[in-house]
């Protein structure tokens, strides 16, 4: 029993990674994670806004209708945007300015708006806090892998330290971000062994089911 509990709580790291497996929060990683430092800023902002929002929004009464409740989740995240950006602007002024648009977008990320209702809020508070943290770690893992690969290829640097001449400047472009995340998603599937039968999946999609 303990073993199954542990495996469920680690789902967010790889098996249900929100970037590489379910694709819930992709835009910041695909476009803005072009270096290790940018990835760090995105991870910190995601942690401060989304994780804290998940913890706080648990106290929003379930009596409120679902449509309004999800709106309130976004309001809480937008409120947390202010202290998050104030801190990040002190720590990483230049990088925060460069990725600001993608920090602003985190107010409506699907981890907060969708996953809370289908997973986190079905658990006791402590288990939910651990589970959500694992999901944030999964996001961090994807952000750093993508950011570091792109920084090495596009600039030949590692967290700003020059290692070699740039190999592929286009690695910082959004199209490369899409392709890299796509390839990493396939690698992640191979590692976790999550394979869906094409027929089964197609019929499920036609019925309009699936995850977001």
């Amino acid at each position: 029993m303990n073993k199954s509990k542990r495996s469920v709580s680690l789902d967010g790291l790889l098996r249900q990674n929100i970037v590489l497996m379910s694709g819930l929060v992709t835009a910041p990683i695909i476009v803005a994670a072009t270096s290790g430092e940018r990835a760090l800023v995105l991870v910190l902002s995601f942690f401060m806004m989304s994780y804290t929002s998940i913890l706080l929004c648990r106290f929003i009464p379930r009596k409120i209708v679902y449509s309004v409740r999800t709106m309130l989740y976004a309001v809480v995240a937008a409120g947390l945007f202010i202290p998050t950006v104030v801190l990040l602007e002190k720590w990483f002024p230049e990088t925060t300015k460069n990725v600001m648009l993608y920090i602003e977008l985190l107010t409506v990320n699907s981890l907060l708006l969708a996953k809370t209702e289908t997973r986190f809020y079905l658990k006791p508070y402590g288990a939910m806090a651990v589970d959500a943290f694992i999901y944030v770690l999964g996001y961090a893992l994807a952000a750093f892998i993508v950011g570091i690969i792109r920084e090495l290829l596009a600039f030949g640097t590692f967290f700003g330290m020059r290692w070699f001449d740039p190999l592929m400047p286009a690695a910082k472009s959004p199209f490369f971000g899409f392709m890299l995340v796509g390839i990493l998603a396939a690698v992640c599937r191979a590692v976790t062994g999550k394979r869906v039968s094409a027929k089964k999946k197609l019929s499920r999609d036609r019925r309009g089911e699936g995850t977001i």
Binding site: M21, S22, G23, L24, V25, T26, A27, I30, V31, T34, Y66, S67, V68, T70, M71, A74, V75, A77, A78, F81, I82, V85, V86, V99, L101, Y102, E104, L105, T107, V108, S110, L113, A114, K172, S173, P174, F175, F176, G177, F178, M179, V181, G182, I183, A185, A186, V187, R189, A190, R195, V196, A198, K201, L202, D205, R206, G208, G210, T211, I212
Partner: protein, 200 residues
């Protein structure tokens, strides 16, 4: 500005946001929602209608808010809160109208409506408007074009969906991974076609 000038501006800004700064291919705004919506024909229509209506109407509203707010010192700290407020009010009003006058439609869309409204494509269009928009026609054009650009991307994903999900694709790439690679190729094609480079 004459009426024809206003219309020309709206159309040109709409064209820019559809092709050169497409919400999904250029900025990845709402890419996850587009992938989800593209799996089902009805979702493509429903999500696109929701996104386009919201980006257009919210752009008009935020035009009147942006200038006084952004003139304040650190006014941009409050913009996400304001935009969520604007989108939220329009969302509740839209749901109310559907519930009151189109009850059957309301029953069908209520489960997905928040996904079509509270997503990066909608709020991203508002933030880009606040950065680049100069007057009301440019806000309307960019807002409307963002929704149409979202439709273009959803449509292109929808027509490719069955092939990309077929047995011909290696299992580990099937579905989400190959969709991302496909969007990447479309994004590369649009970049080359236009000769435009995003600043991110």
């Amino acid at each position: 500005m004459t009426l024809s000038g206003v219309i020309a501006k709206i159309i040109s800004l709409a064209m820019i946001s559809i092709f050169t700064q497409n919400a999904i291919f250029d900025r990845a705004f709402g890419a996850n929602v587009a992938i989800y919506a593209s799996r089902n024909d009805r979702h493509v229509t429903g999500f696109t209608f929701g996104v386009t209506a919201m980006t257009t109407i919210a752009s008009v509203v935020t035009y009147f808010i942006d200038k006084p707010m952004l003139a304040l010192p650190n006014g941009y700290y409050f913009m996400p809160l304001i935009y969520i407020g604007v989108i939220g009010v329009l969302y509740v009003a839209g749901l109310f109208v559907l519930w009151k006058f189109f009850h059957k439609t309301y029953k069908n869309v209520r489960k997905y409506a928040h996904l079509a409204i509270f997503n990066c494509a909608v709020i991203g269009a508002l933030f880009l408007n606040s950065n680049y928009g100069s007057d009301l026609p440019s806000y309307i054009g960019y807002g409307f074009g963002s929704g149409v650009g979202f439709f273009l991307a959803c449509f292109l994903l929808n027509i490719a969906h069955e092939r990309l999900d077929s047995d011909k694709i290696p299992r580990i790439f099937r579905g989400y991974p190959i969709m991302l690679i496909y969007i990447g190729i479309m994004s590369l094609a649009l970049n080359i076609l236009i000769g435009y480079t995003a600043d991110f």
